[in-house]
């Protein structure tokens, strides 16, 4: 909503300055978004005289004009207007000026090899009218002596752009803003005596509102103005509209706009001669069509509120008029409409038709139903004053009476909610200024809500009015209470944060990517999950919810590699989705590593990252998070986006209840298809929601401290075993031989090749043997040794290597 201080002063008596105004507007909730001085831009535009014109050497339709702009130097300007001729007085815009219509800044430009210093302007380019045919022709008598002077008068007032919240339709009119300001103590409201139409002529055009289900129009007021002569608006009116960034069009249109901006009363003017046998306000029928004032054809559905005549739809009530009945410069007889339309209906219709107009914006927020006659009086009298003609009586058709809202307000509620006490006197004054009527009862106030405040219906709304107008700054802050009802984080949240930082300590950079992704990338990692499409995505490349944490990660790994960053480790912890219902999501931590370890190091051998790097990362993270290493169980059943031979699935126990995670090499086909240029790409996923939350607190999780100071012995074994035999099982077997004595098992060599049959491998294992309660004798150790060898050989078919 754009206003000027000058316009406000039509309604407001005040000696305060604009600076105070801006502060006060914001303080009462009418936020000042922007203040622009209209003058600075406009000073560029100067009255100029064309001295000479000649044809452009390289273009038939262009002329090169010598222009006197009141400076020593004559400017050369290339111009395409047919009316540019010697002696013409017009308006010149120099380089640097911003053209109001296009908002483009002029520069010195070569037009077909001829340099043009600025531009000669049309009325439309300066937003003075729609006239775009040719440049402005200024009257000789008036402007002959003004060459070089600024065309626009230096405007002393800024235009103020307010952000009006959707609950305040009343402040979409200058009067409403003034009322709020006055309530807050900023000036006095001018008591404007509204003139009323005094006419004996009947409104002869019949108007009927169909009483039907869902009828959105409850009141339709109108009057006829006959024998008008539509014309250009007078200067005061044009200036007023221009001052808030509106473009003057013709007196009739300008007047309806003016009334709308001034008191938020949208009106519509019809060319009465184009209406066939009176107006019927009714619901539309499916398939009806009409051409609206935006020159677009609209096909209507059932139940939209239309203003129609015998021939069909004239316009959409409260949204947009039609071209068939629009006023033109030669319009003689006008029907002026002032009606009330139901906000939700306006909104439904405009959404369906994808139509956004100023009238719609106002009606969907709620127009004062009691402003119908005010609007007609004000506009009709102005039209008659400017365009002549005779005004008829006002005709009001109504299918419903407006009911005033009443609220029982317990004044104590204000203090209870705001924490602030104000006197009843002050309270009454604020409410009175805002237009409330009130009756004091014993325990409460009975308030009558002004008709222009559709947003107010409850006592709490009154609290807001009082708090807002009295000033939020009056409310004293109270130091926060520290009482707590629950721990800050629950166990799952603690685990989330722990995993996040644990993975980061392993050299990964945390990223946050969008929860949606490219369906092509998503498909690589989707497996058999359902694709979840966004109905209205910003672009098809982010058109689906991600089914996996990898799709975005791999996309950004690739992007970083393309930036020539070679060794990239990224992780993200966040949601992935399995369906489009709330809750069909789970939290996953995914990490990807690419490239090499110790690249170009003088001391370490560089090597590619491999699956045992990511296996270390995931296992270490799980152990750090409190899961027992000895219980972790791994098999090789993994999703198809991993290398089938180089990937593993992790469980927190052998019972395999829920998958804790995966690790492995990303499938080479995917790397090839996505065209990722790296030596190696490995990754892991942790399914955070699948991890069992520890039941006990950390303090209760520590078991009894038990260590042995008896001598520890170490023994090495090498077994020749089936090539496909899993080392995990071997360790399990050895450990089960005597869990009390065997307390550490390490694989220190795996070998395939010479001296080992091709279907076998050699695994070398180091076993630590130690007793908690006695020193072990040689024969004890020998016994354990033998038992290990026997058990392994028996259970696995392996042979000890001699």
């Amino acid at each position: 909503m754009k206003i000027t201080f000058n316009w406000l002063k039509d309604h407001l008596k005040t000696n305060l300055k604009e600076k105070n105004l801006l502060d006060q507007l914001t303080n009462i909730g009418l936020e000042v978004e922007n203040v622009e001085s209209a003058s600075t831009d406009n000073e560029f535009f100067k009255v100029a005289k064309i001295i000479k014109t000649e044809k452009h050497p390289n273009a038939d339709r262009l002329q090169v004009c010598d222009v006197d702009v009141g400076e020593k130097e004559i400017k050369k300007v290339v111009c395409g207007a047919l009316n540019a001729k010697k002696g013409l007085l017009t308006i010149y815009a120099p380089p640097g000026a911003i053209i109001p219509k296009t908002k483009a800044k002029l520069v010195i430009a070569k037009i077909r090899d001829v340099v043009s210093y600025g531009m000669l302007c049309s009325e439309s380019e300066l937003n003075l009218s729609d006239e775009s045919n040719g440049i402005i022709e200024l009257s000789k008598s008036k402007y002959e002596n003004s060459v070089g002077k600024s065309y626009f008068k230096k405007s002393s007032t800024n235009y103020i752009d307010l952000s009006i919240t959707p609950n305040r339709p009343d402040c979409l009119g200058v009067r409403g803003i003034a009322r709020d300001l006055v309530a807050s103590g900023f000036g006095k409201l001018k008591n404007i005596k509204e003139k009323k139409i005094k006419s004996k002529i009947k409104q002869t055009l019949s108007v009927k509102i169909n009483k039907e289900k869902g009828q959105a129009c409850s009141v339709f007021g109108s009057c006829l103005i006959t024998n008008v002569k539509n014309t250009e608006s007078p200067k005061w009116l044009k200036d007023k509209l221009i001052s808030v960034g509106q473009k003057p069009i013709s007196a009739i249109v300008d007047i309806t706009n003016y009334v709308m901006l001034d008191i938020n009363r949208p009106l519509h003017a019809y060319d009465a001669d184009k209406i066939e046998k009176g107006i019927v306000v009714r619901n539309s029928r499916f398939g009806e069509e009409f051409t609206a004032l935006d020159n677009k054809n609209y096909k209507l559905e059932n139940g939209m509120c239309v203003i129609s005549d015998n021939k069909g739809v004239l316009g959409l009530g409260g949204i947009i008029g039609g071209t068939r009945s629009s006023t033109e410069i030669d319009t003689k007889n006008i029907l002026l409409e002032s009606a009330y339309f139901e906000p939700s209906s306006i909104r439904k219709t405009s959404k369906k038709l994808n139509l956004d107009t100023d009238a719609k914006f106002r009606f969907e927020r709620g127009i004062d139903p009691l402003s119908i006659e005010d609007g007609l009086n004000k506009a009709a009298l102005l039209i008659a004053e400017i365009c002549g003609g005779e005004i008829s009586k006002i005709d009001i058709q109504k299918i419903e009476n407006f009911k005033t809202k009443k609220i029982k307000f317990d004044t104590n509620l204000f203090q209870k909610v705001s924490g602030l006490k104000i006197s009843n006197k002050k309270m009454f004054k604020i409410l009175d200024n805002l237009g409330f009527k009130f009756k004091k009862e014993k325990k409460y106030l009975e308030l009558t809500v002004p008709s222009w405040r559709p947003d107010i219906s409850k006592p709490i709304d009154i609290v807001e009015e009082l708090a807002r107008i009295n000033g939020y700054d009056q409310i004293k802050l109270i130091e926060p209470r520290k009482e707590r009802y629950k721990p800050t984080l629950n166990k799952l949240q603690k685990l989330f944060h722990f995993l996040q930082r644990s993975v980061a300590t392993k050299g990964y950079f945390e990223v946050i990517t969008w929860s949606f992704t490219d369906p092509n990338y998503n498909n690589f990692f989707r497996e058999n999950k359902k694709e979840i499409k966004i109905v209205n995505p910003l672009s098809s490349e982010i058109g689906v919810l991600r089914n996996s944490i990898f799709s975005n990660l791999i996309y950004y790994i690739r992007k970083n590699l393309n930036r020539d960053i070679k060794d990239v480790s990224l992780f993200e912890i966040g949601p992935i989705f399995s369906g489009s219902n709330p809750g069909e999501q789970e939290t996953v931590l995914g990490g990807l590593r690419s490239g090499k370890i110790a690249r170009t190091s003088w001391i370490e051998n560089e090597r590619k990252v491999d699956i045992f790097d990511v296996k270390k990362d995931i296992i270490q993270t799980l152990i750090e998070a409190g899961y027992e290493k000895s219980k972790i169980y791994i098999d090789d059943i993994t999703p198809n986006y991993y290398h089938p031979g180089k990937s593993g699935r992790i469980f927190l126990n052998k019972e395999k209840d829920k998958i804790a995670g995966y690790f492995g090499e990303i499938h080479p086909n995917i790397i090839k298809k996505i065209d990722i240029k790296t030596e190696a790409l490995v990754g892991f996923e942790i399914f955070v929601d699948n991890l069992k939350k520890p039941q006990k607190l950390l303090k209760d999780r520590k078991s009894v401290y038990q260590v042995s100071d008896f001598q520890k012995s170490e023994r090495d074994f090498a077994f020749i075993i089936d090539k496909n035999f899993k080392s995990q099982r071997l360790i399990e077997i050895i450990s089960s031989v005597n869990p009390n004595l065997i307390n550490n098992i390490n694989i220190f060599d795996v070998y395939q090749g010479d001296n080992v049959p091709s279907d076998k491998k050699s695994i070398a294992i180091n076993v630590s043997i130690q007793s908690l309660d006695k020193p072990l004798k040689d024969q004890d150790l020998e016994k354990v040794n033998k038992l290990i060898i026997d058990t392994v050989e028996k259970q696995t078919g392996a042979k000890i290597r001699s």
Binding site: P166, V417, I475, P480, V511, N536, P537, L545, N581, A598
Partner: protein, 355 residues
């Protein structure tokens, strides 16, 4: 006796010359070996008579001790000098790079969420979460924003079905609804999380982060709301003074509603919070609307309180001088390295939010 003195003088002189370990050991053997000069003198003791014997024996022992001490100290001296010489030879270029290491980083948004949680933890709030996909009811209707309410225009919503019943939550406020439907008052929660709007330019991303706050009890009023936010902003920006402005605004789910601006100024191209006469909007808040409480079966006659919603990304940008919102989600390694945090920098109450 003469012999003894002679031996002593001779060997002291020998031991005081420059010797290596081998030579010292040779001298030691010469003196104290099986047939060493001193050893031999001990053998003589038996043949000495009377009072001479004691004297001789004492003299001999003294000389032996003296020479042995000298030998040992000489050995020690040589050993130290040998080691030193050896170590000197082992000297490496210690300015060569250390073994390569990797350093991870925490994303600034995660860090900011932890900071926010830590601050609100101090005044008794607990953290709640809700799903990213919401139904239309929780996201709008329950929050007093019925269908065909113009306030819905402020939320460009991503929908997951044609009927517009399922959507990506446009704010974290539905977590209020879920929490209040599930539990009984009082409620004192914050809910950080991902939020979505179909909007994308320099200052808007289709996904961003918000933290919701909700405090409902019997007597929570706007003064508490002001106090809480004043405390939060001061703590978050780690400044002692803050300029804060409550400005009336409108949200369907709160009444009265306010937007909060903080004062700032620009100094040397950097934004300074808490000083200056410019205002920056950082959050929306208000007293929870009685309709919302009714929708979640909380009696608005008995309970009241406040709610607020803060843009996390925006706060992170302000605090850490990040200019471009979209960079948060572009995963540029260089950017992450620059703006990311060390994983060990966990914001906590006891040691402060940051180092």
């Amino acid at each position: 006796m003469l012999d003894l003195k002679k031996i002593r003088e001779e060997y002291i002189s020998k031991l005081n010359s420059k010797l290596n370990l081998l030579q010292v050991n040779q001298l030691k053997a010469d003196l104290l070996g099986k047939n060493g000069l001193i050893s031999n003198q001990f053998k003589k003791i038996g043949s000495i008579k009377g009072s001479e014997r004691k004297k001789y024996s004492s003299e001999l022992n003294n000389i032996k001790d003296e020479l042995l001490d000298l030998i040992n100290s000489k050995i020690n001296e040589i050993e130290i000098s040998d080691i030193n010489e050896k170590l000197q030879k082992e000297k490496v270029d210690i300015t060569l790079p250390e073994r390569p290491f990797l350093r991870g980083k925490i994303h600034p948004v995660s860090q900011t969420i932890d900071e926010i949680s830590s601050i609100f933890s101090e005044i008794g709030f607990s953290v709640e979460e809700g799903p990213d996909v919401e139904n239309e009811y929780n996201n709008f209707t329950a929050l007093n924003t019925p269908e065909h309410h113009p306030a819905r225009d402020m939320h460009d919503t991503f929908y997951l079905d044609e009927k517009k019943q399922k959507l990506l939550r446009t704010h974290t406020s539905p977590v209020q609804i879920r929490t209040m439907l599930r539990d009984k008052p009082p409620f004192k929660i914050i809910a950080p999380g991902r939020t979505y709007r179909s909007d994308s330019d320099q200052t808007h991303a289709p996904m961003f982060h918000q933290v919701e706050g909700l405090y409902i009890d019997k007597d929570i009023n706007m003064g508490h709301l002001k106090g809480c936010l004043n405390y939060f902003i001061k703590e978050f920006f780690e400044v002692n003074k803050i300029k804060m402005r409550f400005r009336p605004s409108h949200f369907p789910f709160t009444e009265p509603s306010a937007e909060v601006d903080i004062g700032y100024k620009i100094k040397d191209g950097k934004i300074i919070i808490g000083e200056g006469d410019k205002w920056l909007e950082i959050l929306g808040c208000g007293m929870v609307h009685p309709n919302v409480l009714k929708n979640v079966k909380v009696d608005p006659e008995k309970f009241q309180g406040y709610a607020f919603g803060i843009g996390i990304d925006r706060l992170a940008m302000l605090k850490y001088g990040i200019n471009d919102l979209r960079a948060f989600f572009e995963c540029d390694y260089r950017w992450l390295n620059h703006f990311g945090f060390d994983p060990l920098d966990v914001p906590t109450n006891y040691r402060g939010l940051s180092r």
